[in-house]
Symmetry: C2
Subunit: 214 residues, 2 copies
């Protein structure tokens, strides 16, 4: 397997966590999203992945973008330890938490989005950060309410073992800190993050541990 | 089952298509996203769904947001006809197509986002529409390239039966038209949309057919 990654990408970070939890060691290829205007826009990379994003997985004949699709694929092809519960309601809940971060928060903090705000709306750094902080704060506030009140929440987002939901939560809180949002304001999320960070898999997947880290 | 919906919501539309394909008739409850500042922000609705979004599904004890999680849940609990292929690579491909729309395009055209652009950046209607058109066009261009070249594309996004990917594609092309993007510029996507629209399930799920349509 070959995984295209960038150390600071939230989406690539999710897949790295899943790989580490499952003991998978794909060959890593690094796509620098900032240098030279962004290597993801190169003709070579676009020919491989028309979306021009990371992560991107090659496994045999399969060419696969989208972090949640990649994690589900890894979970189906390497089932142990499972990253989704066995019951349909539990699986639904884990996917819902993952999507609340991957579809409702992360797309709005994406580099391409803040670059558009700068170029087309003349938004300076303070206003771009206010934008990102707004979406992170509203998304995390809703998720905190949900996780704090639902009995299915355990040591991790769902029960007492890490799932796809935790693979999304930890990178989102990493991004929150980058933009000045303190996860301590979301006590359930912060508690779960601490449980995750106690696991070596989460440590090894972190941006600072990557060969392409700066 | 109870489904909270709004006729024009792309995400609710996805779930309505899945329900129609499976012959499910959940009790519909209507959440008007515009009137009175948006009923999704009401205390009553937020108490039910802290995210304040549609769709939202109640099935027994389960309270479930996020359209893709809902469709996967319906597919697991009502397996016929299947909305995901049986092989892991096929499932991954379908999820990847669905997410390319649900995570990379739709979040940026969302009402809450264009409202923020208006209030915080003073973006007039023309600039808000240019924003939406930019994200729809770039997302559909990448997806057109992918679907046009991959042999797994058939009469529908994946093979010759509708899947989760088609449940996302049709609402996205509906939204594209609303914002003045002509799907004819994406011939593979337009061809698949036509195949979908020939099925009664897609017709019945359309915004214009909903009891809350205006």
């Amino acid at each position: 397997m070959i995984l295209y990654t960038y150390f600071r990408s939230s989406a690539a970070y999710r897949v790295r966590i899943a790989c580490e939890l499952k003991g998978l060691q794909p060959e890593l290829r690094f796509v620098h999203l900032v240098k030279g205007g962004g290597h993801q826009h190169s003709l070579e990379y676009r020919a491989l992945n028309p979306q021009g994003r990371v992560p991107f997985l090659i496994d045999g004949d399969l060419r696969l973008g989208q972090s949640l699709a990649i994690v589900e694929y890894l979970d189906e092809t390497h089932p142990e330890p499972p990253l989704l519960p066995r019951d349909a309601a539990g699986r639904a809940r884990v996917r819902s938490i993952a999507l609340a971060l991957a579809a409702d928060v992360q797309p709005l903090q994406n580099l391409s989005v803040t670059q558009y705000l700068e170029k087309q709306f003349g938004a300076d750094q303070a206003r771009r950060e206010a934008w990102v902080v707004h979406w992170i704060t509203s998304g995390l506030t809703a998720l905190e309410t949900t996780l704090a009140r639902e009995p299915a929440t355990g040591r991790f987002c769902h029960g007492d073992a890490p799932t796809l939901a935790d693979c999304c939560l930890v990178p989102q809180l990493f991004a929150a800190r980058r933009f000045g949002v303190d996860p301590a304001g979301f006590p359930t999320l912060a508690r779960i993050e601490a449980a995750c960070q106690a696991l070596p898999a989460f440590f090894r997947a972190a941006p600072a541990q990557q060969p392409d880290a700066e």
